[in-house]
């Protein structure tokens, strides 16, 4: 691999026109031709801004004050027009909705190629290859608006991949993807990187994948480059989470926890395979204690049946059969996780709970009443819904107005409105942003605004559709902690998610969906350790579950753990070992 720098960043500082200070500070970084660079950092660290500086959108589109130099393929990004830079740098944005413009999936992939005058036959070949790569083959004629969030993200990635640029910049390209989809994108990008020599710069919160696939990791914090090193050096830092709000891979957390407990692992691995090797190395020094896996505490036993779904089928107008005879009971006071691959029918199912969709056949009951006989407005007072894309629910000009909107329209008195708004803003950490325009917040913060607005309604049931998308680890935890508090206060909570590693400690019951049917409905420990079933629906169990199963097969005993700390607690020093 040539080590020529294709991207040079020298003394880069940048301030948006209306930001109070610099969002990037004195960054110096060279990215080599053919390198795969991961960028990690908490929300607001400047990761997206740094990406936008690589194709000239910062500063040419946003304006602001720009200091220093950025050159890509020898072109200065301040002096070279964006359309020229775009021939060298392709970018996948965090929110795929912002870059999908065509009327069909294949037109979307073809658009960039047509603009750089790629021959027709080659365009056809690349469309086929790019769509197959992201598992969208067969959807060529679909309109992008008909795709699920994850499918849209995969389409944006396909459009960028098809360009086969010198530099491919991906800003959280897998945030809406199911785990195997995410793995596939990382693997595909790695293959492009290795086979075609494309330089890849990838922003992600997915620590496990970053650790496994990238050559180097750039750690951004508060606009500064706080670290630049191999993944094994960056992620093995014990203070990563408290100091930079970065979640290390789960196997890394396991070994750091072992070290805290007085063990002496020879190294702190950051990948699953390496973790297994380190375990094999340590086997002579450690032994498994009698298993004492704690069960998840529940606030109170589940009550009577709240939602009853009976043989529900749903066929969309374009003929897509999204649900096939789904039957399910959800009880009062439960905390249920609904998991499954992109397009499994999870969102379609919960939209029936709110009468946002009507079953093609079958029925959904809420407290014994058929929901199709209830108005959406009636249901909204009882069932709070936080949709996948917060921007579809935001329309006011300040955070406070957004949170109070529904309350004012329900005729609640001003004093009560003020109190509820205050509580919701406080719960979601938005008090300081109350006068801000929601669009001036990050997508993660906008999701918190929507949650605050729903909380203010004080519904009995809360449905969160992918609430942790676009959040950093602490942001995701904060949202889930709120959901747990609500659950402990007696509310029924339903969370749709791909982020299985976040669910332990929150969900008690997991419903696994795939291709419009329920594949498994079980307690979380049972569901997460049914790895064959999860993989059947393109879900990968959390890394620590995979690791525990690898250990379990060596030790010939079950290890149904869900978290690194649980697994670390299973070990004791072997008698006689140093």
């Amino acid at each position: 691999m040539s080590r020529d720098a294709i991207v040079r960043i020298e003394n880069l500082s940048y301030q948006y026109p209306r930001s109070p200070g610099l969002v990037l500070r004195d960054i110096n970084l060279s990215i080599h031709k053919g390198e795969f660079l991961g960028i990690v950092g908490p929300t607001g660290a400047g990761k997206t801004t740094l990406c936008l500086a690589l194709n000239g959108i910062v500063p040419q589109f946003y304006g602001g004050r720009f200091y220093g130099h950025v050159t890509v393929a020898g072109l200065d990004t301040v002096e070279t027009p964006i359309h020229q830079l775009a021939q060298h740098v392709a970018m996948v944005f965090q929110d795929p909705e912002t870059q999908l413009i065509a009327n069909s999936v294949e037109d979307e992939v073809a658009f960039g190629l047509e603009n750089i005058r790629v021959p027709r036959d080659e365009i056809r070949r690349r469309i086929e290859w790019a769509l197959a790569t992201v598992r969208l083959a067969g959807m060529e004629e679909k309109h992008p608006t008909e795709l699920s969030g994850g499918e849209k993200q995969r389409l944006a990635i396909a459009a960028a991949l098809a360009l086969q640029p010198q530099v491919l910049v991906l800003d959280e390209p897998t945030s809406q993807l199911d785990p195997l989809g995410s793995q596939e994108v990382f693997a595909t990008v790695r293959e492009l990187n290795a086979r075609l020599g494309i330089t890849v710069i990838l922003v992600s919160h997915a620590s496990e994948e970053v650790a496994e696939f990238v050559d180097r990791v750039a750690l951004l914090s508060n606009g500064e480059l706080a670290g630049l090193n191999a993944p094994s050096q960056i992620f093995a830092q014990a203070d990563l989470l408290p100091k930079y709000a970065i979640r290390p891979p789960q196997v890394t957390r396991f070994y750091l926890e072992l070290r805290n407990r007085g063990f002496d692992p020879p190294s702190i691995p950051v990948t699953l395979e390496r973790a297994v090797k380190v375990y094999d190395h340590m086997r002579t020094q450690i032994e498994l204690k009698p298993l004492a896996v704690p069960e998840i505490a529940t606030a109170e036993p589940p009550g009577s049946v709240l939602f009853s779904v009976r043989d529900v089928e749903h066929v969309y107008p374009d003929g897509t059969r999204a649900l096939h005879g789904v039957s399910l009971d959800l009880r009062e006071g439960e905390y249920v996780g609904i998991v499954g691959q992109n397009g499994a029918g999870k969102t379609t199912l919960v939209k029936h709970f709110l009468h946002l969709l009507e079953p093609t056949s079958g029925q959904v009951f809420l407290d014994g009443q058929d929901v199709t006989n209830l108005e959406v407005s009636e249901l909204a007072q009882q069932v709070g819904f936080v949709a996948q894309n917060p921007d579809n629910q935001i329309f006011n000009t300040s955070v406070e107005a957004e949170v109070s909107f529904a309350l004012r329209n329900l005729g609640i008195g001003p004093a009560e409105v003020a109190q509820r708004v205050e509580e919701s803003l406080d719960t979601m950490g938005l008090v300081d942003y109350r006068t801000w325009h929601p669009l001036s917040l990050s997508k993660g913060d906008r999701a918190r605004v929507v949650i605050a607005a729903v909380l203010a309604m004080r519904p009995d049931v809360l449905i969160f559709d992918e609430p942790t998308t676009g959040q950093d680890y602490l942001g995701a935890r904060r949202i889930l902690d709120v959901s747990r508090q609500l659950h402990q206060a007696g509310k029924t909570v339903i969370v749709i998610t791909h982020h299985l590693y976040l669910m332990p400690g929150y969900a008690e019951r997991v419903v696994v969906m795939g291709k419009g049917i329920i594949l498994l409905d079980a307690p979380i420990r049972e569901a997460f350790h049914d790895t064959a079933l999860l993989e059947h629906t393109f879900l990968a169990p959390p890394q620590i579950v995979q690791f525990a199963q690898r250990i379990a097969s060596r030790e010939n005993r079950a290890l149904p753990v869900l978290a690194p700390e649980e697994l670390a607690a299973c070990f004791a020093k072997r008698k006689g070992a140093g």
Binding site: N11, L12, P17, Q60, R65, F66, G68, H437
Partner: protein, 254 residues
């Protein structure tokens, strides 16, 4: 810290300082608004409605500046005529009128420019032609002046420092001032633009005195409607644009 660089849009992607993408987006917005018919109209004489896009022409000028605003309004109206014919009562002339309205909006918010004087001359000549047309078809002067009172108010507001007041309020941060600036600016621009449009329309259509009489309350009512809709849309859009922090068109007034 590195040396500060001069930041500017490159590569011919702007027209009169407005990115082409903005012009396309606004043209598309106006096309969508063309679908919404407003059944209160000074064109009752030829039977029909006016499209809600008329309420946004001035706003497009405030946001994009005179030439880019006129281009967006012209494209939006032209497409709107064909795909929303139910609101296209005035036909192709409405494209020219839309461009005049948006250009007037852009001129109103421009600083250090004398284009407003040229615009004033056009508006005054249009007003004279409008009222003069009445006299040629036996509508008496008193009735013509009553019917065109709204148009006259636009000319006066354009001439007085109220034009500058609207410009400064639109550029101001507090939403209340922004709303006041948009309301004043929309009324002024719409009344002036309406004058130019009517000079053309009334030359083509010789409406009798009884129609002029009916229009006495209708013209201010529809101007009020346009100003209110333009203000509501404008406050939402401009506060949103400010919040997003996208680069402003060079001649934007917000």
């Amino acid at each position: 810290m590195g040396e500060e660089r001069q930041v500017r849009p490159l590569g011919g992607t702007t027209i009169d300082g407005a990115p082409i993408a903005y012009i396309i987006v606004w043209a598309a917005v106006l096309v969508v608004l063309s679908f919404v018919p407003i059944p209160v109209s000074a064109v009752l004489g030829i039977g029909g409605t006016f499209p809600m896009s008329q309420a946004a022409y001035a706003l497009v000028g405030f946001i994009l500046g005179p030439w880019a605003g006129a281009l967006a309004a012209g494209i939006g109206r032209l497409i709107g005529i064909f795909i929303a014919p139910h609101t296209a009562t005035s036909g192709i002339p409405s494209v020219v009128i839309a461009m005049v309205w948006a250009a007037a909006g852009g001129i109103l918010v421009e600083k250090k420019s004398r284009k407003w004087v040229l615009a004033l001359i056009v508006f005054v000549l249009s007003y004279v032609a409008f009222v003069g047309r009445a006299l040629t078809i036996d509508v008496d002067l008193g009735l013509a002046l009553q019917t065109t009172l709204t148009n006259l108010s636009g000319l006066i507001l354009w001439l007085l420092p109220t034009r500058l007041l609207a410009r400064d309020w639109i550029a101001d941060r507090p939403p209340a001032k922004l709303a006041a600036g948009l309301a004043l600016g929309c009324w002024t621009v719409n009344a002036c633009g309406h004058t130019v449009g009517n000079a053309l329309m009334y030359y083509v259509n010789a409406w009798p005195a009884n129609i002029w009489r009916i229009l006495i309350p209708i013209i201010p009512a529809e101007q009020l409607f346009r100003a209110v809709v333009g203000t509501v849309i404008g406050v939402g859009v401009i506060t949103g644009l400010r919040a997003i922090g996208l680069v402003k068109p060079a001649k934007a007034g917000y």
